[in-house]
Structure formats: C-alpha cells, structure tokens
C-alpha cells in the first residue's frame, strides 16, 4: 500500500478532481476532531493544558508533515468558528506540523524518554512563533492568562516582547510536552494491523 503524498490544490484543478489517497481523506477530519474533543478530557482532570495540536502531531507521525499541515490548518479553521481570534495562530499549527515531521523522521516517538524532551523543544519553538502574533495582532492579550502573565513580566522589568514571550511560554511549554507524550503512547498502543497501514508511523516509533 503506497502512501502517495497529498497534493491539495486550492485553485481550479486541471483534472477536475485529483485522485487523493482516500485513507488521508478519512484520517484528516478525525485528527482535527481529536484535537478539539480532547478539551473535554482536559477539563475533567483540571489541568491547564490545551492539547489542541494533538491531532496535528499524530497525523504527522502517521502520514507525514503535509498531512499534519492540513490537519493544523483545518483545526485552526474550526477553532476560528468558535472564537474568531484563533485565526492568526494557524502559523503555529503549521510550525508544529513541520517540527513533528522532523521528530517523527528521527524516530523520537520511540519512548517517553525521547518524546518528552522533543515536546519541550516544541514548546519553546511554539511560543517563539506565537509571541510575535500575540504581540502585533492582539497586544499580548490573546487570553486572560497570557495577558496577566505578560503584566507580571512587565512588572518584573522584562521588555514588552519578552514579557509577551514569558506569557505564552508558560502555557505552551508543558502543553507540548504532554501532547508529545500522548502521541507516543497512542503510537505504541496501536494494533499492528492499523500501524501497518501507516508506514511512516513505524519509522516515527523507531521500529524501522
């Protein structure tokens, strides 16, 4: 079963409808739904996490960064329907997908010991990416929590951009580490038959 790369044309398609791998068409909406549905689980355990990139990272580990980007963009789009201020952060989702693609290629999902540090690394990169957006578009008021931590940062004497980074860093750091750990757990729990349908998953787990 070959895993053809997905070329998702946005403009008029010369062939009318490109033969895309149907498995990816089935996977992408489910991955987006996973990202959004996990909020119920997070609320139940009362942890300050979002886990809204779980689907993006999982899809990347299973099928490559192109699919991850598609999932990330769609997750942003659906989030925007609920809260319009999420729209500029689609860039963060894309960066997450690209990073996860590199991590999967390096087989970093093979154990928690490698996945968690990789997630922490992503936390740094994600906050570095979201800080300029937060600063220029929202003046660091993206959420109440970020606004308050930014105010705290300013009070501590940090420059405005630094205070903003401080704000997003605090929430992103743990969130991305937990997400990476969760995706690693899922990959290892996949039954062999399902994992075999996604050849990239085996590489992400360091199995090939």
């Amino acid at each position: 079963m070959s895993q053809r790369p997905v070329y998702i044309y946005l403009w008029r398609d010369p062939h009318g409808s490109w033969p895309v791998s149907v498995r990816l068409l089935a996977l992408i909406p489910v991955a987006v739904a996973i990202s959004l549905a996990l909020s119920a689980a997070v609320d139940a355990v009362a942890l300050p996490l979002f886990l809204d990139t779980t689907g993006t990272i999982l899809a990347t580990a299973l099928a490559g960064p192109a699919v991850g980007v598609a999932v990330g963009v769609l997750t942003s789009a659906v989030n925007t329907l609920r809260n319009p201020t999420f729209s500029p952060f689609v860039v963060v989702q894309i960066i997450v997908a690209l990073y996860a693609g590199l991590a999967a290629r390096a087989g970093l999902f093979r154990s928690l010991r490698t996945a968690v540090p990789a997630g922490l690394g992503l936390g740094v990169i994600a906050s570095l990416t979201s800080t300029p957006i937060s600063y220029f578009v929202f003046g660091c008021t993206t959420t109440g929590g970020i606004a308050l931590t930014t105010a705290l940062g300013k009070a501590l004497g940090l420059p405005p951009l630094g205070a903003c980074f401080f704000g997003s860093f605090v929430s992103d750091f743990g969130d991305k580490a937990v997400t990476f750990a969760l995706v690693a757990a899922v990959l290892h729990a996949l039954p062999r038959r399902t994992a075999a349908r996604f050849p990239l998953a085996l590489r992400a787990m360091g199995a090939t």
Partner: protein
C-alpha cells in the same frame, strides 16, 4: 444577505479585518468596526443551514451582535491593563472588526452552500470534502469524549490529586478516544472508497449557488482595493 454567493461572503469577511489593519488607525479601524458590527445586525443564518458544528438558529441579528460584543469585550479590558489609551483604541478596534466579521460569517454562511460552491467551481474535491467532513466529525467525537469522561467518573475519576495522578487519568481518558477514532478511520476509508471518492472523476455539483457577475466583479474590486491600500500604506 444570505442569498449572496458564499465566496462573496468570504471576501467581505476577509476584507474587513484586512482594511482594519491596513488603513491608518484609529479612523480606519473605527470605520471597519462600524461596518462589521452593522453586518452582525442583519438577518442571520440562511434557511436550511443545519448545525454540523455551528450553533444552530442564529436567526436573530441581535444574538450575533451580542456574541461579537461578548467575545471582543475582554480584549479591551486586558489591552487597557497593558497599554496606554491610543494603542488600546487602535488595537481594540482592529480586534473587534476581526471578531465581528468572523462571527457574522459563521452566522450567515451555511457549510453546505460553501461546499457546493467549491465543487461547482471545480476546486479540488479534497478541500471541499475535508472542510465538510471535519465539521461533521467534530461534534461526534466531542460527544464520545464526554461519554468516556462520564464512564471514567463512574469509576472514580476525580480532578484531585498530584499532577502525576492527573496525567495518568488524562492518559486513561485520551487513549481510548484516540484509538477508537483511529480504528474508525479504517472503516471510513472503506466506506468512502466504495462511494467513489478519490476516483479522479469530476464530481457533479448537486445544488450550485448562483454566482452573479456583479458579485464576481465586486469581489475582484474588493481585492484590488485591499492591495492598493496596502501598497499605499507601505509606500
């Protein structure tokens, strides 16, 4: 308003925030905010739009207006906390425009019309399909997540305890949800294949929305205006 072609609605909803950022503050931001908030007061969702992930029944313009206000208000508060007066007003107006146009778009655009518009124009079926299927899949999985949470609560799950315990509990909630969803991907693939998706054949549009020439002209004009304003601002 809802009789307009979906692409026109998208164009308006994209143009307003763009102008809010491009045009000099605070005049530009004020103008676009007024337009956007005014739009939210126009009659709501088109008839025949169903829930599919969106809150159903946004027929009254007042509800839309209020929703936009409620979402935008906290930003003004926090902006005031962090910045001085002029910056607060400038950014606040921009954010309000963005919020209002998006909230209006969600209320006035029904997903099936947008999907049919994409199919009719010959846009890649993959994009149209993904958009629609995602909107359908989200409520289903959310409901399943709630059921799993309920089931675990009956088994004694509680939001107390150390961080490590809570993380373990999170794992116990998340893993079944994700694994069952992935298993379903297999079944869905089979079902979609047998229904002819991804065959490389041009799909027949079932109910293409009417695209008037005037609307097309208006959309391109809007784009040109945006670009002109952007160039003038940068120059």
């Amino acid at each position: 308003m809802s009789a307009l072609h979906p692409f026109s609605l998208l164009a308006i909803a994209a143009a307003l925030p763009a102008f809010a950022w491009i045009l000099p503050a605070p005049g530009g931001g004020l103008a676009t905010t007024l337009i956007a908030m005014g739009l939210t007061l126009t009659p709501g969702a088109s008839p025949g739009s169903t829930s599919a992930g969106l809150t159903p029944g946004w027929r009254s313009g007042l509800v839309t207006f209020r929703t936009a206000l409620v979402i935008a208000a906290p930003f003004w508060l926090f902006l005031r906390l962090l910045h001085d007066g002029p910056t607060t007003v400038a950014m606040g107006l921009r954010i309000t425009t963005m919020v209002a146009s998006c909230v209006w778009l969600v209320a006035v655009l029904s997903p099936d019309r947008l999907v049919e518009a994409m199919v009719a124009r010959g846009w890649s079926l993959a994009v149209a399909y993904l958009f629609a299927a995602t909107l359908s899949a989200v409520p289903v999985l959310k409901a399943r997540a709630r059921r799993i949470v309920e089931a675990q609560r009956c088994r004694g799950l509680s939001p107390r305890g150390s961080v490590a315990n809570r993380l373990r509990a999170l794992r116990a909630l998340a893993l079944p949800l994700v694994l069952s969803a992935l298993h379903e991907v297999d079944e869905r693939t089979l079902a979609l294949e047998t229904r002819g998706l991804g065959m490389g054949v041009r799909r027949t549009p079932l109910a293409a929305p009417l695209d008037r020439t005037a609307e097309r002209v208006a959309r391109w004009t809007l784009l040109l205006l945006c670009l002109t304003a952007l160039i003038r601002r940068l120059a």
